[in-house]
Structure formats: structure tokens, C-alpha cells
């Protein structure tokens, strides 16, 4: 009996602590939704209340969409993240297959370069890459947002590790069936690697949807802004005057990823945990 | 050394009952094997004894005192796990020292830095070292004490795990399939070693295994569990020779006992494959099953016959598989002389002695049979 009561007391303490922590974690989200639902008169009141007396979420959303071209910014985010991911896979998959399954002179040296590349943080190469894009004359365009990220050494590494576990017999069987090496990559290896590609896809899309540093550097034109850049500009223009609309805009920007995350939590946690390996 | 008593132990996980009321007494100094097919609840029973799993009903008594609700550490039992469960970051010596340090040192003495400078800790460490070295010498692992588990072979890890159990001189040893991760040769070797260890320690051993050969060769008593019930408890020879249940008969012995469909006739005599045996039963008439061990089938002569479908020559002995004419049943017979084996496809006649017959009713319970003429019991079973 004592053991039982001890267990339930501990279970209570566990829940109390976890709920307290969860409140801290969720507070910014709650505050964001609460503020986005308040009319200005309630936002600018020193009195604390989370539930608005006058529900103004719709008005704030309307104002956010009117002040900034949010649809366009979301679309930019989709265009950029999807292009980056597709190109990353197109570049990484053949290289990963060659590194995992083919013998050629220089393979080990190339793999060493890949491992070394993983260690380079993106901020480190920013200045020369910027100068290169400037020389190419592609700054302030989609190309500038996408091109530097088409190569993902981490993606190559990840796929290569995955491909090493694909049995050689499968590849030999494909060769016997007359499929070319290039065909093997897309018709044999890609289907086998779907779980790894999915995880990498989530990792890549989340990283680039949320990226602020690079778009900030290469973009000038308003219509090209990615979601994080849009929020930052919105804030610079409206902070201090229009918090309701600002919070509504923030909500709109984080919503796509959060909704996707809530729908496929396991995959997202796996995909993001990959960042740890990087 | 301890006498362990189990009374009406039940255990359910959610809705499924794993143990359905187990009563068992393990005598002081006994080597008792809990044996049964996987999933029969034997490991759960062991974990209930250890205190790792609380039972749903019933009580466990160690040396006369009820230990229900007492922590595993306070029951003074030692356990050797299937995976050995050695702490991977500690050397063999430190692994063996854990139970001693936990018991002999206070919390303050166990502190990483402060503890080591206390004089009382140094004194204790000296006796701990002496104790471990003594056990290590006994297990012949003295030269391995500084190694980490990853640097040890399977057999060596096994010995360290046994050593960790021995150092604190527990009242009983619990083994949870400790040999199943070893290769076949080493397993046979370790069987002999464990049996020897038991003889020298004279402590109570409770040993869980699904390997009937292991249980038969090591233990002083066997407890056969099937589907959460203790079906039979007894000495190995008794279990083998006198199974009280068809499932026990089939579980013990390799190759398996031959089970043939039979019938109790209205006059009480038993009929098999159309032949009436010189055996009667007092049970009501109806279907029954007749079990005969492979070594009790006598080939070459007799009223029964079958076609040879397969021959397994093991070198010192051979097993002949017979397909019975006009029935789906298959029989296995042991042949001691491997120089004269029948050809595959040939037909053989065979017979068996009346006292080789073990009869079971349709529910699988053993039924007693009496030979018609007691003084001719060695005679053939058939008229």
C-alpha cells in the first residue's frame, strides 16, 4: 500500500512540474493568440487579461493582410522551400548512391570533403557567397535564395548512410534487368530511401522556412520577402502602434509549420532531431 | 540460504492473466528450475519472487517472513539476468562492487569526491576488495577485473554477472535464462559449471529456462509451467518418466514423445491403430491419447507397421521416422546401433512394452492404466 501511495504522489508531482513547464512553453503562443484577438483599446491596457472582452481576431487578421501582402509572402516561402528541397534531392541522391555503392578513385577523398562540409556553419560562407551572387548578378531574386542551398552535404551524408544498408543484391538485380546506373538512382534507390528522404525533407523545409539570416542579406524587393523577413518588416513598421495586427501576422506565419507538425508529430520530431547529427 | 514459499500467486497485466494461482515451495539449498515454453509466465514468476513485479494476489514468503511490498534490494536475493545487465561504464571489479558499496557504505561515503577521503570509506573499500578478489579467484576471472564489459566475451560476462550475484552472499540466487545468449558449446560447459557452483555454495537456486535439456541436466527439481499454471513439480527423472499431463510429456524429452490417438473401449481396454492393448483403464470409454518415448519403440517385429520416411543419424544413435500405414500419425524411434539402419521407403514392423505406455484423456490429463497380468508386465503390450 505504501508503495502505491508513493507512486501516485510521485505521479502527481510529475504532472504538476510538467504542467508548470508546459505553461511557460505555451505562454508566448497563448499571449500571441490573445493579443491577436484583442482590439487596440484592450491591447494597450495595463490590466492583465488573457481572454478579450471584445473578440477582434477577424479585424486584426484583416488588417494584417491589408497592411502586408501576406499571401504573397507565404507563397514565396513555399516556392523557396520546395525548390530548395527538390534541387537538394536531385543533387544529393546520385552523389550519395555513388558514394555508398560504387567504387571509383577519389571516393574516400570526396566523402571526407562531405564530412568536412557538414562542419561549416552557413554564416561562415555568407560573405564570399554573397560576393559570388553579386558577381553573377542574381542578388535580390529567387535564385539568390535557392542557389546557395542546392548543395546539402548533410543530405548527401544522410542518404549515403541509408543507401549503405540497401542490399547489393537489389542493385545487381536491377543491373541484370538492364537498368542504367542513373536509372538505378531514381527507380531503385529513391523508392527504397523514402523514409530517409521524408525525414530530410522535413528537416530541410523547416530550416529554410524559418531561415532569417540569408533572405535578410540577399533580398531588397518587398514582393520577394519570405515569411520571417515579412514578420520582421511588419514589426519595424507597426510595432508600438498595432500589436493586434502584428500578432495576427505572426500567427499566420507560424501556422503552416505548426499545423503540419501537429498532424505528423513523430515524423517531425525525427526530422528535426536530425539537426542534432549535423 | 532460504526456503521460499509461494502461495496462490496471481498476476495480470491489464486484462490478461499471466499467472493463475501458483503454489510452490522451494526448499533450502535446492536447485529448482522453472521450465516451460516461452510466454508461460515463468519469468514473471521469477520477477515476482525478486520483487521487480508486484503480484496481483497471493503471497511470497522467504524464510517464514512475508516479503510482499518489500523492495527487491531488501529481500537479499541476487539475480543473474539474461542480458547479464552489467553496467557498461564500470569495470568488472566495479560491477561486482556495486551491491557491496550500496549496502556497506553510507550515502555520504558514496559521494564521488568527498567520500573517497573519508577513513571509514577506505576501510570498507579494503574489505570489499578482499571479498571480490576471493570470489573472482573462485570464478577464475581475477585477470579480467579491470576490464569493461565491452572487452569481455559472452562467457566472461556471464561469470562477472554470477560474481556480482555471489559477492553479497544472498539468501537465494535467481537466474533468468542466463545461458540463452551463449553459443551451444559454451552453454553445455556453463551448465556443468553452474551445477558445480550450486553444489559448492549449497544455496537456494531458482533457475528459469525454456530449454528442457538445461533444466533436466542441472536441477534437483523441475517445476513445469504451461500457460500460467504449474502443471507438475518433481525430480527430473520423475517428470520425464511419469508426466501427469500430455503437455508436460511433450515438453520434456528430445525428440518429442510419440503421441498416438487411441480409444478406451467399453470393456475398459485400450485400442491403438486398430490393435487392442493388454491394458485396461477404469476411465469411461472414449477417445484418449497414448504416449510412448522414442527409446521405448522396438523396431523389427510386432503387430504395428510403418514406412520409413526419414532417418537422422546422430553418430552415436539414430532416429527413425515412421509414417504409419493408414494413418497420418508419425512416429520417431531411437536406434542405438547406427550401423544397421533401415532404408528410406522400406516397411518396418514395431512394438512397445506395456509399461512404456503413458495414456492421457482427451483433456490431456494422465490416466492410470493397469496391465492385465501384473507378473507379465515386461511382455509385449499386444495380445
Amino acid at each position: 500500500m505504501t508503495a502505491l501511495t508513493k507512486i501516485s504522489i510521485w505521479s502527481m508531482i510529475r504532472h504538476v512540474l510538467l504542467i508548470a513547464g508546459a505553461i511557460v512553453m505555451l505562454l508566448p503562443f497563448v499571449w500571441m493568440i490573445s493579443t491577436a484577438s484583442k482590439p487596440p483599446s484592450e491591447v494597450f491596457s495595463s490590466e492583465l487579461h488573457l481572454i478579450p472582452r471584445h473578440f477582434a481576431l477577424w479585424e486584426n487578421l484583416q488588417m494584417a493582410f491589408a497592411k502586408a501582402n501576406l499571401w504573397r509572402f507565404l507563397l514565396n516561402g513555399v516556392i523557396v522551400t520546395v525548390s530548395i528541397f527538390v534541387l537538394q534531392v536531385l543533387v544529393a541522391l546520385p552523389a550519395a548512391y555513388a558514394l555508398a555503392k560504387l567504387r571509383f578513385i577519389g571516393r574516400n577523398a570526396l566523402f571526407a570533403l562531405v564530412l568536412f562540409g557538414i562542419l561549416i556553419p552557413p554564416q561562415a560562407t555568407a560573405i564570399p557567397v554573397f560576393l559570388l551572387l553579386h558577381r553573377l548578378g542574381v542578388l535580390d531574386g529567387y535564385a539568390a535564395l535557392v542557389l546557395p542551398f542546392t548543395i546539402s552535404v548533410f543530405g548527401i551524408f544522410l542518404m549515403r548512410q541509408f543507401f549503405r544498408n540497401v542490399p547489393d543484391d537489389l542493385i545487381d538485380a536491377a543491373r541484370m534487368d538492364g537498368i542504367s546506373e542513373f536509372g538505378i538512382v531514381w527507380r531503385v534507390m529513391l523508392p527504397a530511401a523514402i523514409p530517409a528522404v521524408t525525414a530530410f525533407g522535413i528537416f530541410s523545409v523547416v530550416a529554410h522556412w524559418n531561415d532569417y539570416f540569408w533572405p535578410l542579406i540577399v533580398l531588397n524587393s518587398e514582393h520577394l520577402r519570405t515569411p520571417p523577413l515579412a514578420v520582421a518588416h511588419f514589426r519595424n513598421a507597426e510595432a508600438g502602434t498595432n500589436y493586434g495586427a502584428l500578432m495576427a501576422a505572426a500567427m499566420v506565419i507560424i501556422a503552416p509549420l505548426l499545423v503540419a507538425f501537429l498532424l505528423a508529430q513523430r515524423r517531425f520530431v525525427e526530422g528535426i532531431a536530425l539537426t542534432g547529427i549535423k | 540460504m532460504a526456503r521460499i514459499e509461494l502461495k496462490g500467486i496471481r498476476k495480470s497485466f491489464d486484462a490478461t492473466e499471466v499467472l493463475g494461482g501458483v503454489d510452490l515451495t522451494i526448499e533450502n539449498g535446492e536447485f529448482l528450475s522453472l521450465v516451460g515454453p516461452s510466454g508461460c509466465g515463468k519469468s514473471t514468476l521469477l520477477r515476482v519472487i525478486a520483487g521487480l513485479e508486484p503480484q496481483s494476489a497471493g503471497e511470497v514468503t522467504i524464510d517464514g517472513s512475508v516479503v510482499d511490498g518489500i523492495r527487491p534490494s531488501a529481500r537479499n536475493l541476487a539475480m543473474v539476468f539474461q542480458s547479464y545487465a552489467l553496467y557498461p561504464h564500470l569495470s568488472a571489479f566495479d560491477n561486482m562492487a556495486v551491491p557491496l558499496r550500496m549496502r556497506r557504505l553510507s550515502t555520504i561515503e558514496r559521494l564521488p569526491l568527498l567520500g573517497t577521503i573519508l577513513p571509514s570509506r577506505r576501510r570498507e573499500e579494503r574489505t570489499i576488495r578482499a571479498d571480490i578478489e576471493k570470489i573472482a579467484a573462485q570464478l577464475e576471472i581475477s585477470h579480467l577485473l579491470q576490464r569493461k564489459p565491452a572487452q569481455l566475451s559472452g562467457g566472461q560476462r556471464q561469470r562477472v554477472a554470477v560474481g556480482r550475484a555471489m559477492v553479497r552472499q544472498p539468501v537465494a540466487f535467481l537466474f533468468d535464462e542466463p545461458l540463452s545468449n551463449l553459443d551451444a558449446k559454451l552453454r553445455v560447459h556453463m551448465r556443468a559449471e553452474l551445477a558445480e557452483l550450486h553444489r559448492s555454495l549449497r544455496s537456494t537456486f531458482i533457475y528459469v529456462t525454456h530449454d528442457q535439456a538445461e533444466a533436466m541436466t542441472m536441477s534437483s527439481r523441475l517445476a513445469v509451467m504451461i500457460a500460467g499454471e504449474l502443471v507438475q513439480v518433481g525430480r527430473p527423472a520423475e517428470i520425464y518418466d511419469n508426466p501427469r499431463d500430455a503437455r508436460v510429456a511433450e515438453f520434456v524429452g528430445s525428440p518429442k514423445i510419440n503421441m498416438m490417438p487411441g480409444r478406451i473401449r467399453d470393456d475398459g481396454r485400450i485400442e491403438v491403430f486398430g490393435h487392442v492393448l493388454r491394458l485396461t483403464s477404469s476411465q469411461p470409454s472414449g477417445n484418449c491419447r497414448i504416449g510412448i518415448r522414442p527409446e521405448r519403440i522396438e523396431l523389427g517385429g510386432g503387430p504395428f507397421s510403418g514406412a520409413v520416411v526419414h532417418v537422422e543419424n546422430m553418430g552415436a544413435e539414430a532416429f527413425v521416422h515412421l509414417g504409419l500405414n493408414g494413418a497420418d500419425a508419425r512416429l520417431v524411434a531411437r536406434v542405438n546401433d547406427v550401423r544397421r539402419l533401415p532404408d528410406i521407403g522400406s516397411h518396418l514392423s514395431f512394438n512397445f512394452a506395456a509399461d512404456a505406455v503413458r495414456a492421457f484423456n482427451s483433456a490431456g490429463k494422465r490416466i492410470d492404466v493397469t496391465a492385465e497380468q501384473a507378473e507379465r508386465i515386461r511382455e509385449r503390450a499386444i495380445v
Binding site: L18, G21, T125, A126, W209, R235, V269 | A50, A150
Partner: protein, 314 residues
């Protein structure tokens, strides 16, 4: 495969080996290079070339748009080491790392242990604590800014309830950096939790049972004997990863404080950004990048050193 074909062919018709083998081998010999060519080209162009470039640039006086550049040796580094702002940025970065790493690692560990210590509501808690990792940091930074608003913010509102007058967190030079640290911990804890959870799950259950039987009767004793030592490789890994990530702190600084007030939140990457992309002093920005790279390299070395040691008892 080509080798096999050649040998078989060779046994049958020895004379035709060279020709046949050459024909069969050529495509397979070149294919690997064809497959890796795009990746290799892009890698040299976007990663390794620029890396060499940034080091080379740090020894020049190049400014974006300037017609020429000249080799000025260590002049950028001399200027940097003589600049008070650089030392402030370095100090602030180290303070940030020194607060966020222990904070986010211990918070992640504590949350993971709490979640794993029971069975109910595990996935709900995991989801909640992971939410900040998923949310766009810039958007959440803006939310935090309003939460920390001196007058209308939630934090000071709560403090007022207790009769405490909260500071204007982000506008006060004595609190701004710590406010950014708090946001950093809030964002990173859930990520570390996931790594710790994976580590906890991989600890064999039988070790806890063995500990229990060996006499480790308190939760603390079992933590000391089993959890902590077996989690050590994960812990060092998480510490280094958190270190690398917090060295890169930029988003919150740029959008909330721009390094102010009076440089109290100036950090390395933000300095690099202002020098390289606002004043377009590419050479000087490159020198700042090299310092940043040095720290990342140091952390990576620590990581591989510790990983080697961890492998010994894996």
C-alpha cells in the same frame, strides 16, 4: 560486375579480353563521376570555395563595389583586436553561450527525465515542449518582445500583480542580454529534450532492475548508478550541439535589439552582419567570421575527442 563479366569472357575467349573489358568498363568507370559531378561542383562553389575565400578575404581590404582589393596582411585582425566593440561582442557571445547552454541542456534533461518517469500523457507533453522548436523564431521573437513590453507586456503585468515594478527588459542595458538568453533557452529546451528522450529510451530496462536488486533503492541512487553514466555520451553531444547553435545567435538580436542598447547585446555574428552587409566592409567582416569559425572548430574538436572516448564503452 564488369570484373566478373571480363573474367568469364576471359576464360572462354582469352584473346578478346582487352577490347571487351575496355568496352564494358568504360561506362561504369565514368558513371560515378557523372553522378557526383553536380554535387562536387556545387560543393566547391558554395561551400569549400567560399570557406577558403572568407579566410583569404580576411587578409584584404576588399569592400563591396570597390574596383580593386589589396593584400593588407593582418591589418583587419589588428583593427579588430583594437576595437572595443569586438571585445564586447565576443564577451556577450560567450555570456550568451555560457547561460543558454547550461540552461537549455539542464532544462532539456529535466523535462526528458520527468516525461520518462511516468507513463501517462507522454506524447502530449513531448508535443507541447517541442512546439517552440517548430515555430518560426522571428515570429516568436516578436511575440516575446511584446510579452516583455515594459508597460503592456505579460511579464511585467504579472510582476505588477506581486507588487514588483519590472524593468523595460529589452531596452535596459543591464537586462537585454539576459532576456535574449531566456528566449534562447525557451526555444532550445525542447530540442534537447528530444535528444535526451532518445538517449533514455535506449538504456536497457534490465540495468535498472539489476540496480534495484543490487541495493540502489532510491531514485537518486539509480540515477547516479545507471542513468547519468549511460546518458553521458548523449549529454556531451547535446552540450556541444547547443554550444554551436548558440554561438550562431543572430535572429533575436537583429530583430529585437540590433545589438543595443549601447552594444549590450552585440554578438559576433551580428557584428559580422553589420560590417559585411550594412557597411559592406567584406574584408573586416571576413576576419570576424574567421574568429567565429575558430570557436566552432574548437567545439567540434571537443565533440570528436569526447565521442572517441565514449566509443570505448559503447
Amino acid at each position: 560486375m564488369s570484373d566478373n563479366a571480363a573474367t568469364i569472357g576471359g576464360l572462354a575467349v582469352p584473346i578478346s579480353i582487352p577490347k571487351r573489358a575496355a568496352q564494358r568498363r568504360n561506362p561504369l568507370l565514368l558513371t560515378p563521376y557523372g553522378l557526383v559531378a553536380p554535387a562536387l561542383t556545387l560543393m566547391l562553389m558554395m561551400l569549400l570555395g567560399p570557406l577558403a575565400g572568407v579566410i583569404a578575404l580576411s587578409f584584404t581590404d576588399y569592400q563591396l563595389g570597390a574596383p580593386s582589393l589589396s593584400w593588407i596582411g593582418l591589418a583587419n585582425y589588428h583593427e579588430m583586436f583594437g576595437d572595443r566593440v569586438f571585445w564586447t561582442a565576443l564577451r556577450n557571445t560567450l555570456v550568451y553561450v555560457g547561460i543558454v547552454v547550461p540552461g537549455a541542456v539542464s532544462a532539456g534533461l529535466a523535462i526528458a527525465l520527468l516525461i520518462q518517469s511516468g507513463t501517462s500523457l507522454r506524447s502530449l507533453y513531448r508535443t507541447i515542449y517541442f512546439l517552440p522548436v517548430m515555430a518560426t523564431l522571428i515570429a516568436m521573437a516578436v511575440v516575446w518582445e511584446f510579452m516583455l513590453h515594459p508597460q503592456f507586456g505579460l511579464v511585467n503585468g504579472v510582476l505588477r500583480e506581486f507588487g514588483i515594478a519590472g524593468p523595460s527588459w529589452l531596452q535596459d542595458r543591464s537586462t537585454a542580454l539576459y532576456a535574449l538568453c531566456a528566449i534562447g533557452i525557451w526555444q532550445a529546451a525542447g530540442f534537447n529534450m528530444v535528444l535526451f528522450l532518445a538517449g533514455l529510451v535506449s538504456i536497457p530496462k534490465q540495468l535498472y532492475e539489476a540496480a534495484e536488486i543490487d541495493g540502489a533503492s532510491s531514485a537518486w541512487a539509480r540515477f547516479r548508478l545507471v542513468t547519468w553514466p549511460l546518458l553521458r555520451p548523449v549529454t556531451t553531444f547535446v552540450v556541444v550541439i547547443s554550444g554551436i547553435r548558440s554561438f550562431q545567435v543572430f535572429d533575436t538580436v537583429h530583430v529585437l535589439t540590433k545589438g543595443g542598447p549601447s552594444k549590450s547585446t552585440e554578438v559576433l555574428i551580428h557584428s559580422m552582419y553589420t560590417e559585411g552587409f550594412e557597411f559592406f566592409r567584406s574584408g573586416y567582416g571576413a576576419a570576424l567570421t574567421v574568429v567565429f569559425l575558430g570557436f566552432i572548430l574548437l567545439l567540434t574538436l571537443i565533440k570528436s575527442r569526447l565521442a572517441d572516448r565514449g566509443a570505448q564503452y559503447a
